[in-house]
Amino acid sequence: MLKRLRKKPLSLIGLGLIVFFALVALLAPLLAPMAPNARDPYLIPQDGYTSDPTPPSSKHWFGTTEQQYDLYYGIIWGTRTAFKIGLTIISMALLVGITLGSLAGYYGGWLDEVLMRFTDIILAFPAIVLAVVIVAVLGPSLSMVVLAIALVAWPSYARLLRADILSVKQREFVLASRALGATDFWILTRRVIPNAIFPVLVVASLDIGSVVIMAAALSFLGLGAPMGYADWGQLISLSRNWILGTPQNPLQFWYTAVIPGGTIFLFVLGWNLLGDAFRDILDPRQK
């Protein structure tokens, strides 16, 4: 598989971008050290309280947003936030999706029917709409954004795994285990799931880019991270008041939108480039 990935230069760029962001996230304390008296590294230090953003300088490499939040610090620690959010949402959604999807696929019958109709209902909403509703009801915060997106994301994983299990459970090695008297639980966890889970894991891990976009969108809409938290969506929302510059320099505040916007674009681009390559490899029709 790696060999075939190597043949696609674009996927290598994607991999490079993700490795780069992963390094930034890991090395955040070195790249952007916390202020000595700060308690929470995810709170961006403020340099004064002036309302106007300031352009990039030697003191603030990427400039500052309104109310003087340092953009460089926000971007670096925001990378950690992005990975944390993405990985948490995907693992939560996978946990629920795998559990319910395998139960539905393996046992079938009324359990399957009930679970699948439930996924139908969740999938009757555009994901972001249901996520907005859930966050509004639970109370806006970053952890509720994570929970809400996981709640709208699991049904597609459950369905994918269920479909794979339907075919795996008919195979000879499963029938053989059953003939030898293995329990359902043993067959499901040791034989069926390990043989059906791979596509779901690939699809889900490549969804990290899109769930990070959705979380950033909710933060942008003011339903996620609180003011001053190192989160890309929140940083972009801070630029909304600075679309207009001065008549002499109309694009004066470009950095408030371009820097956080460009960062999230590159992050998602990385996942999508990698995702494309995997999709081509997994899809035999595209050869």
Partner: protein
């Protein structure tokens, strides 16, 4: 076809039941005082919530509450939205045409450009046009609408000052709401022409271009991809080779033979396109301060206007379910294999 239609329509009440149950169950996390706005018909009732709670059984067990609410919404009583300052049903009527106009303005070019570029990309595989289409697709997926929208605003509003946010200028706003203007449809582009006011048409168009372009860019990616891959599959099939061997013109082979079949998966995935548009509308309307369903929903969510949130969710789900239904029926209509199953 008729039996397929009946089977498909018979599912609708169950989906509606499920959707309302899910939403209503979610609301149980909130106190009765907060949910009371769902039942308010007149803003004056907002100061006497206790009587609303009594009347509509808000402290009673779930089934009783749900039944009371369901009877309400079936007659179109959706409560009072504090963010819109009007009853929810009226708010939907007021905001929906704006959203529909925006979505349609984005949808038509998405469909035309997506199918055209997807076809060309497949025909000229691995040539410059194909690379361009891939660039469009991958950046369309990766550039979030709230980033693209802000950048477009900075350039075309901030720098060049030609395409402003909102839905109309102040002068147009005053004129539209005066006695000289008759709102026939609620769609501004159409109404302005029907009233013979070209300057209003121009004004509305200027406000529509940027949000529509944002929606377009994010949704055309999907269409390019699906058309390209399904077209690639078709042009290697036997019947295409037969057509070529018979000496059919290459343009006819592509446009009449291959593309007709290649568009079948495009129809099935148009529901995905619909999700993209509906979801995109939520964010795009907020960035461009465009007064539609999406911006209303976001405002309601930010200010915990429960009646507004529920109205927004119900409208979105209805549109989405009906859109899916339309896609399925269209699919069965063009592909006889589906309806015979």
């Amino acid at each position: 076809m008729a039996s397929y239609l009946i089977r498909r329509l018979a599912m609708l009440p169950f989906v509606a039941l499920g959707v309302t149950l899910l939403l209503f169950a979610l609301l149980q996390l909130l106190s009765p005082e907060m949910r009371a706005s769902l039942y308010v018909k007149d803003p004056r009732q907002l100061s006497a919530l206790e009587s609303v709670i009594e009347t509509y059984h808000l402290r009673d067990p779930f089934p009783i509450q749900y039944w009371t609410w369901l009877k309400q919404i079936l007659v179109g009583d959706l409560g009072y939205s504090e963010t819109a300052r009007m009853p929810v049903a009226e708010a939907i009527k007021a905001f929906f045409p704006a959203t529909f106009e925006l979505a349609l303005t984005a949808f038509v070019p998405t469909l035309l450009v997506g199918i055209w570029l997807g076809t060309k990309a497949a025909v000229y595989q691995d040539r410059p046009l194909d690379h361009f289409s891939r660039f469009m697709a991958i950046t369309g997926y990766s550039l979030p609408s709230f980033v693209l929208g802000l950048l477009l605003l900075m350039i075309f509003y901030g720098r060049f000052n030609i395409l402003p946010p909102g839905r109309f200028s102040l002068e147009a706003d005053l004129f539209i709401h005066s006695a000289n203007f008759t709102p026939f449809t609620g769609f501004l582009l159409l109404d302005s022409l029907l009233n013979g006011k070209l300057w209003i048409f121009w004004d509305a168009l200027k406000h529509l271009i940027l949000p529509a372009a944002t929606l377009f860019y994010n949704s055309v990616a999907l269409l390019i991809r699906i058309t390209r891959s399904s077209m690639l599959e078709e042009i290697h099939k036997d019947y295409v080779r037969t057509a070529r061997a018979k000496g059919v013109e290459e343009s006819d082979v592509i446009n009449k033979h291959a593309r007709k079949n290649a568009l079948i998966p495009v129809i099935t995935s148009s529901s995905l396109l619909l999700v993209g548009l509906l979801g995109g509308v939520v964010i795009t309307e907020t960035i461009f301060n465009y007064p539609g369903i999406g911006r209303w929903g976001v405002n309601a969510a930010q200010q915990l206007d429960i009646a507004g949130i529920m109205g927004f969710a119900l409208v979105s789900a209805t549109l989405f379910v009906l859109g899916n239904l339309a896609a399925d029926l269209l699919y069965a209509f063009v592909d006889p294999r589906v309806r015979l199953k």
